[in-house]
Amino acid sequence: MPSNERPERRTLYFIYISLIILLILTAVGGKLPMGALAHDVLAFGISVAKMALIVFIFMEVHYDKGIVRVFAGAGLVWLFLFFLLTFSDYLTRTWRF
């Protein structure tokens, strides 16, 4: 398979090292003193970065054609809609449940 159709072995190791570095960042970042919101944003951001590396390289979505990418993304889009509208309820309530 030509190299533009799949990642090279080298790339796979490189991505793995990156994932481990991100893991260390996550673990260390969790212990650093910062506001709760900053923590959440940092942790979530790093998780998204890890997910991107795994999805695009390990799962080869970077090399896939368009329709596969749409299928790969659809679930996330729907989950986002679910979160958005559910929180439109929880964040606008004027009472505690």
Partner: protein, 553 residues
């Protein structure tokens, strides 16, 4: 063979695509229980589903009969309140999950979809068979729960009643539905992949029959919504089993979170139920008015629009449940929007009828009934989407009449229409046309008599799920129960004459309706196991009917 409705080029040798004499049709390709229970043939799997869902239809119908008998008198003498609760739960659970959701997709869709796109089978035939077995397994759990005494939570399983206080077989019932959900998911997965990858050469997306578009849109909903009800039911079962959980107000849980999770699935579920019926109607309206569909792309895109918009309106079930009023406003507005693509379909069907050559065969009667009754049901949905009106009619018989107009007046009629339309292809036989038309008329009359009084009852304030009521409303309940008995006769008739015709009916030609479509023009009645002698090459548009005449259009 038909003349004006071919959709393929003649084969290179010029020979017509007739059945080779030694190739048996799919019904005769192997005999005995084992050949049926281990089949990979999508057509046989469709028949397995047909038999299974018919059993559940009559179970759910029996529960409804008991409810209607109870409601004949205002004091409620037939069954106890507890039993009444179990009856309406049984009715809801069986009708939603074990009849309506699988009806068109798993029976008609399984049977027809591969042929319509020019494929020999679905992409994953073994997964297709597994889907049926999973359906049966889920059904067994549900039947076990029912026979053990049932569940009294309603099909909606609201917490904390279902998790903490109900006495009944909630875990068994929830497990049954959980399992059946996977049947839905696998069928949908099969349809999506099949439609993408197995269309015959020349079968571009916009040459597909609209039934395929509607099944595709339905499958999208199934795949994205069903997992959420699965996790929700698992959470209820876990909470009930453990005695503590995330919906428990005693530890700070929010019962309304359950409703968000539940309705995120269950609202799209109603579109799962109706969209395939709309697809069937498109096929029948065009065939029996001999006319190409008006606005093909609009109808196709409207199916996708319904699928997408249907996901963002679920909060309209929770207007009075202590959801934030701001969320309520958003959901109300979005609910108005979702009516638009449905309306587009109704306009386009009507425009298709205009200047067509109408034939009142049985499928057409069901299709016309669908359009009228679905419109009434759909319009009353707008009343319910209006926050101020919903305050008054929420949880009354108005809601019940609304969704029965759509589900029974719409969907069941579409299913019966489709069953009659494709019956010659499925069974290789013709049914008795006069008897079928008569039954359709009985169903139409019985249906309206049953459910129209319920709009009035709801408006007057009769709550749903109550086994007794103030005596001044009795006349409406009597009308409704009378209608239900007429409706029951109407449903029993096709059960009898279709079954009879399967064994003794007149043999059907390959295309008795002169319909367009690969399933009519390229296969025998019934088809051979691999559908086509030779895979077709498609060069014509979907609805190749003589009307509208070019000078008119």
């Amino acid at each position: 063979m038909s003349s004006a409705s071919t959709t393929i080029e003649p084969s290179p040798t010029g020979a017509p695509p007739t059945r080779h004499p030694v190739t048996p049709d799919y019904l005769n390709d192997g005999y005995g229980l084992r050949s049926w229970l281990t089949t990979h043939d999508h057509k046989r799997i469709g028949i397995l589903y047909l038999l299974s869902i018919t059993v559940f239809f009559f179970i759910g119908g029996w529960a409804a009969t008991m409810m209607r008998l109870q409601l004949l008198s205002p004091h409620g003498d037939l069954v106890t309140s507890e039993t009444y609760n179990r009856l309406f739960t049984l009715h809801g659970v069986t009708m939603v999950w074990f009849f309506l959701i699988p009806s068109v997709p798993s029976v008609l869709g399984n049977f027809v979809l591969p042929m319509m796109i020019g494929a020999r089978d679905v992409a994953f035939p073994r997964l297709n068979l597994l889907s049926w077995y999973i359906f049966v397994l889920g059904g067994i759990f549900t039947l076990y729960a029912t026979i053990s005494g049932g569940v009294d939570t309603g099909w909606t399983f609201y917490t904390p009643y279902s998790t903490t206080y109900a006495n009944g077989h909630v875990i068994a019932m929830a497990s049954g539905i959980f399992i059946t959900g996977f049947s839905t998911i696998f069928t949908a997965l099969n349809f999506i992949v099949t439609t993408h990858t197995m269309r015959a050469p020349g079968m571009h997306w916009f040459r597909l029959p609209l039934f395929v578009w509607s099944l595709y849109a339905t499958s999208l909903i199934m795949v994205l919504a069903t997992p959420v009800i699965a996790i929700t039911l698992a959470l209820i079962a876990l909470e009930r089993f453990a005695g503590v959980g995330i919906f428990d107000p005693r530890i700070g849980g929010d019962p309304l979170l359950f409703q968000h999770l539940f309705w995120f699935y269950s609202h799209p579920a109603v579109y799962i139920m109706i969209l395939p019926g709309m697809g069937v109607v498109s096929e029948m309206i065009t065939c029996f008015s001999r006319k190409r569909i008006f606005g093909y792309k609009f109808v196709a895109y409207s199916s996708l629009a319904i699928a997408i918009l249907g996901f963002i309106v679920w909060g309209h079930h929770m207007f009075v449940a202590s959801q934030s009023i701001y969320a309520g406003m958003i959901f109300s507005m979005l609910s108005f929007l979702v009516s638009i693509p449905s309306a587009i379909k109704v306009f386009n069907w009507t425009a298709t009828l205009y200047k067509g050559r109408i034939h009142f065969h049985t499928p057409m009667l069901y299709a016309l009934g669908f359009i009228g009754l679905f419109t009434i049901g759909g319009l009353t949905g707008l009343f319910l989407a209006t926050l101020a009106v919903d305050m008054h009619v929420h949880d009354t018989y108005f809601v019940i009449a609304h969704f029965h107009y759509i589900m029974v007046g719409g969907m069941v009629m579409a299913y019966l229409g489709g069953l009659h339309f494709w019956w010659p292809k499925i069974s290789g036989r013709m049914y008795n046309e006069k008897l079928a038309q008569f039954s359709a008329a009985i169903i139409f009359v019985g249906f309206n008599l049953t459910f129209f009084p319920q709009f009035i009852l709801g408006y007057l304030g009769m709550p749903r799920r109550y086994p007794y009521y103030p005596p001044q409303w009795q006349v409406f309940h009597i009308l409704s129960t009378a209608g239900a008995s007429v409706l029951a006769v109407g449903y029993l008739l096709p059960l009898c004459y279709l079954t009879w015709s399967f064994f003794f009916g007149r043999h059907a030609p390959p295309n008795p309706w002169n319909a367009s479509g690969l399933e009519w023009n390229e296969t025998s009645s019934p088809p051979i196991r691999t559908n086509f002698e030779k895979l077709p090459i498609v060069t014509r548009e979907a609805y190749d009917y003589p009307y509208p005449i070019k000078s008119d259009a």
